[in-house]
């Protein structure tokens, strides 16, 4: 999530391996990286940046379990308690026959819940104003963004570290 009125120094790279090594070097020099933007996933970059493992699977599991019990409760209550009917000579609560619906609802709630949670935690919402560090990250360039306010180091030093790490360009980006 980006806050307002922030100033960033951005290093632009053209090679995925280069950006990985650059991120390593920048972290080693004591600079905190705000975020790395790449047009495609780079394997292992999350380890370099020290990202914590996502907890999204736990969300998926919890939503899935909710779906399972919701579906079972719905069918047992509807077909077994509220309006019992004899279908195909089975018991009112014919558990094997309920499993397909239960399965579907488990998958549905799990998937929808995961997507919804992801949108909330990533602050993806309609009419959100897009803030791009550099338009070329949607094409072929990789960008390492450094938040000036989050680092005690001088801007000039940060720039020289970026330069040493092999950045093609070093720009500043201000968001109003």
């Amino acid at each position: 999530m980006m806050e307002r009125n922030k100033n960033f120094i951005i290093g632009v790279y053209s090679d995925p391996d280069q950006v990985k090594n650059a991120a390593k070097a920048i972290i080693k020099s004591g600079i905190r990286i705000h975020e790395v933007y790449t047009p495609f996933p780079i394997h292992g970059i999350e380890d370099v940046l020290g990202y914590k493992k996502t907890r999204l699977p736990i969300v998926a599991f919890l939503f899935g379990v909710t779906g399972t019990f919701l579906a079972l409760f719905m069918q047992v209550w509807m077909l077994g308690i509220d309006w019992p009917m004899i279908i195909g000579g089975k018991d009112h609560i014919a558990l094997p026959a309920f499993i397909p619906v239960t399965f579907e609802l488990t998958v549905l709630l799990s998937a929808l819940g995961m997507v919804g949670t992801f949108m909330v935690i990533s602050d993806l919402k309609p009419y959100k104003k897009l803030r791009l560090m550099d338009i070329r990250i949607t094409d072929d360039k990789h960008v390492i963004a450094i938040d000036i306010a989050a680092n005690s180091m001088r801007v000039k030093d940060i720039q020289s570290v970026l330069k040493d790490s092999g950045a093609d360009e070093i720009n500043e980006k201000n968001f109003e």
Partner: protein
């Protein structure tokens, strides 16, 4: 110590021998108990009175041998199938471990010999037939004196064009010849790559694998009708080929995973890391669910349609004191256990969980085959005891001995596989 070639140490051989001897002792113990009639005397006596058939302990022994045959043939076949799938998909991650599943194929020629012996023992040594359709008295509508044949079975007689000894034997022989042929040819092609490093071997293996997969898809289905489904001769299920394949595949994957972790623990395969284990774990996880899907599809349609000639199959299993517990246990340990334990990423990446799940799944799918074969073959005379455990141990010892022996013949890791580099950097 050179870790490029698997060394089949005398210690390992000794352990396998101990396993086999323990199994043999248990089998003998089981036979003695049954001969003394311990616990089974009343059941057998009652069965005698009701059905008029003599129950002899050898029937249970042959049935157990047959279950093990089918189960271990499955492991051997799935080894080759897995190898072929990796080539046909041009997979990179599995390059260093390809020779482990391939080595499972060494079992097949031995399995064929044992299969033939057990088939003869189980069908032609007494008045009992493991395969009911081999009873020749079922087919004639009238007896030689012109009176109606009381044993005549129009349903089985109608299946005769397919289920007759000649065609059955031909099918079995064709399957084994082609499977073993593919195994030999693919193995040769695969090992030839080590010597000259030409890319043509890899390309040719892709074609061979694709052809093998097609043949395997057809033959495994027909083999499952022949070897398993025809025990319940009247009954049929159109999903049965898939069902057997699913059970074979997940147990084969568990065996491959277990073998890889075992080799890794002994210092072999240094390039296999938790990323590769993760992929194998995903395979076991996914195909446990796949098996459940197929198993449930078969069960639910029969349950819901409730046609007597179909549902008798599950009535036999669920209304029996012997088989009903196994039926529920089978579902628990083959679905809930791997599903819940292997669900997280960490469980798939750490050997301990993976190993426990693989062992449980391997045993669970043995029980699955037990449930397919025993109720149809032995009816109320079945059981689970020393005899079953003993025969598993003997077969396991033989299987391990043969595949480890095969594995120790040449280098464990392909030298010039074009995907090797990709596999070394495999990261998920």
């Amino acid at each position: 110590m050179n870790k490029e070639v698997f060394i089949f140490t005398p210690g390992a051989k000794k352990n396998i021998a101990i396993l086999a001897i323990t199994g043999l002792v248990l089998v003998i113990l089981g036979i003695i108990l049954m001969m003394l009639g311990g616990g089974h005397a009343e059941t057998a006596g009652a069965a005698h009175e009701i059905s008029g058939h003599d129950f002899h302990w050898s029937q249970r022994l042959y049935t157990d041998l047959w279950i093990n045959n089918i189960y271990f043939i499955g492991l051997g076949l799935i080894g080759i199938f897995f190898f072929a799938v990796q080539y046909a998909a041009q997979a990179g991650w599995s390059a260093p471990l390809l020779r482990i599943p391939l080595a499972f194929g060494y079992w097949l020629p031995y399995a064929f010999v044992v299969l033939v012996i057990v088939f003869i023992l189980a069908n032609f040594t007494g008045h009992w037939h493991l395969f009911h359709w081999l009873d020749q008295s079922l087919y004639a509508e009238t007896l030689s004196d012109g009176s109606a044949n009381p044993h005549y079975d129009p349903i089985i007689a109608g299946k005769r064009p397919f289920l007759n000894l000649g065609f059955y034997t031909i099918r079995t022989i064709i399957f084994f010849v082609v499977w073993i042929g593919f195994f030999i040819v693919m193995k040769k092609e695969h090992y030839a790559e080590d010597v000259d490093g030409k890319i043509s071997h890899w390309k040719r293996l892709i074609t061979m694998s694709a052809i093998f997969i097609i043949f395997f898809a057809l033959s495994s289905a027909v083999a499952s009708w022949d070897w398993v489904m025809s025990i319940d001769t009247h009954w049929y299920s159109t999903i049965f080929g898939w069902y057997i394949f699913a059970s074979w595949f997940v147990s084969g994957l568990a065996a491959i995973t277990l073998m890889v972790t075992f080799l890794r623990e002994n210092g072999y395969l240094p390039m296999i890391n938790e990323n590769h284990l993760h992929d194998l774990g995903k395979y076991v996880f996914a195909f446990s669910i796949f098996w459940t899907y197929i198993w449930f599809s078969q069960f639910m349609l029969i349950y819901y349609a409730n046609i007597p000639e179909e549902s008798v199959y599950f009535v036999e299993r669920l209304s029996s004191d012997i088989y009903a517990p196994v039926f529920y246990l089978n579902f628990m340990i083959n679905f809930f256990f791997p599903f819940l334990v292997l669900m997280t990423r960490d469980a798939k990446r750490h050997g301990v969980f993976l190993k426990i799940v693989c062992i449980v799944v391997l045993f669970g799918h043995w029980l699955d085959f037990y449930l397919m074969v025993t109720p149809g073959a032995l009816q109320e005379n079945g059981g689970f005891g020393f005899l079953e455990i003993g025969t598993i141990m003997i077969y396991l010892a033989a299987f391990l001995f043969i595949i480890l022996n095969g594995l120790s013949k040449s280098a464990l890791v392909p030298k010039n596989h074009p995907m090797m580099q990709e596999s070394l950097y495999h990261h998920i």
